[in-house]
Subunit: 289 residues, 2 copies
């Protein structure tokens, strides 16, 4: 088993353990929470929490609750994003989205439940209280209306409109960028890293965050729906402004390469301990789903 698989296995087993089924009628929402957690993707965010913590000299184990909390928040955002009043997506990673598998109200509450559980999990850890509070504040701010939710709001405002590259970047920096930023810096926080390492984590996050979004847009054009597990070409159908539509495919691909190089450079301060992060940035940039 390689390191990525080891991390995913650790994240998954921990994640599922946090949701307790009580064997009673109020379990429907817990079942929906588990359903969406189990339909997980690459676990990019929790993996970054664990690896930044390790690269900064911290114990991977101590970072697990924070990695799981972040993945819960990411998962809640996908459940709410898929709802009919938002993106109205019936599928998520090849399986029915939460509100299709269950129902609208259950999916709404499952999202609320995961968001709330994330904070309970963080507050339940045994790290120094000061560290936990900083982590709660960081994650709440990155996920909140001045962070991810602000990006979702901008996204809604832009529906059916052409927007500038600058606006697109600002939207994505909030909508997907802030949680990736939270992932990288949470790892440093748990490991009590110095300023130089925090700064490196921020630069890495900023660059892979944008690259990640450009690759997403490119895959919507170049991939097949079997590969992606969701319909392709939806951006073009929705006349959505994307990096390829604003910059062209070739220039977008060059940008991904450039951003990835910056991310790789940033983690050179970790020496050998930055190798996994460097390789991972490259891996994400050439992914096919």
């Amino acid at each position: 088993m390689n390191k990525i698989e080891e991390y995913i296995s650790l994240i998954n087993s921990s994640l599922y353990e946090y949701v307790k089924l009580m064997g009673d009628e109020e379990d429907k929402v817990a079942e929906a929470m588990l359903y969406s957690l189990k339909n997980g993707g690459k676990r990019v965010r929790p993996m970054l929490v664990l690896e930044f913590c390790r690269a900064c000299g911290g114990s991977v184990e101590s970072a697990v609750p924070f990695a799981c909390a972040l993945e819960m928040i990411h998962t809640y955002s996908l459940i709410h994003d898929d709802l009919p009043c938002m993106d109205d997506d019936d599928f998520r990673r090849g399986k029915p989205s939460c509100h299709k598998q269950f129902d609208y109200a259950t999916a709404l509450l499952a999202g609320d439940g995961l968001l709330t559980l994330a904070f309970s999990v963080m507050a339940g850890t045994e790290l120094p209280a000061e560290t936990v509070i900083k982590a709660v504040k960081l994650l709440a701010d990155c996920a909140g209306y001045l962070g991810m939710i602000g990006g979702q709001t901008m996204d809604l405002q832009h529906e059916g409109k052409q927007i500038s590259l600058e606006t697109l970047k600002k939207t994505d920096a909030l909508k997907t960028g802030r949680l990736i930023y939270a992932a990288c810096t949470l790892g440093c926080l748990v490991a009590n890293a110095d300023d130089e390492k925090f700064k490196a984590a921020e630069t890495y996050a900023e660059n892979i965050g944008l690259a990640f979004q450009i690759v997403d847009d490119l895959l919507d054009i170049t991939s097949t729906s079997e590969e992606l597990g969701k319909p392709v070409g939806s951006d073009e159908d929705n006349k959505k402004s994307t990096y390829p539509s604003l910059l062209g495919i070739e220039h977008s691909m060059e940008m991904v390469e450039e951003l990835t190089k910056k991310a790789v450079d940033a983690v050179s301060v970790f020496g050998n301990d930055g190798q996994f992060l460097a390789d991972y940035a490259v891996k994400l940039s050439v992914r096919t789903k």
Copy 2:
């Protein structure tokens, strides 16, 4: 200005200050958050936080962020509860509910935003870190899928069904009871109260929580929609099992009286400092809206 008005004024001004408008396009959700916060009711929960803190010898000021966080969570739950996929209520306290004033997606995100902001506000306080973490854990657990959300789930499962008194009590103990419990014990927590006072707060919470719900059900029968600011008779129209429908109006009123007496007795351990809480329990039991 009497003490209740003073508390409400302190809660309101603090609450509105927490939501920053950036003067930009992502502000729509922040505006919706503010709209729903401003359409506030009796501020029962934050008032209980402040008064329990004071009665336990703590400073009211130090409890304000926790009182506000709790009210944000209460407000988010109302926004999501009013959505078409849940209770589908067009009015809340005589004004259009959030999704009617804005739109469905904005209301969804405003709820998410308030829930997330509650944790940011708590983590941003300057109390001892250990206290803040206990408060975060308490509130997350009371609001989560094993608390308030669990009660909302049970409520959904019961829709259109007759249920037993025992099931109704269990549902309400989660749906409304847990946040009232959180309010009373958060105040004690901030004031670093001893076990005897915590126990008294728990007993008070348990009794006024149930009484509050029974009065709500009674008002749905005996009040007018002008008085309540929302349609009355909706429980009967929806064939919902309520305390009056299961126990009769008279017996329900007796129960309210009995529960209120128990709450009043519980806070006698505070001596003179329990007087406001005793009076408040009575005030809530004879309210007309």
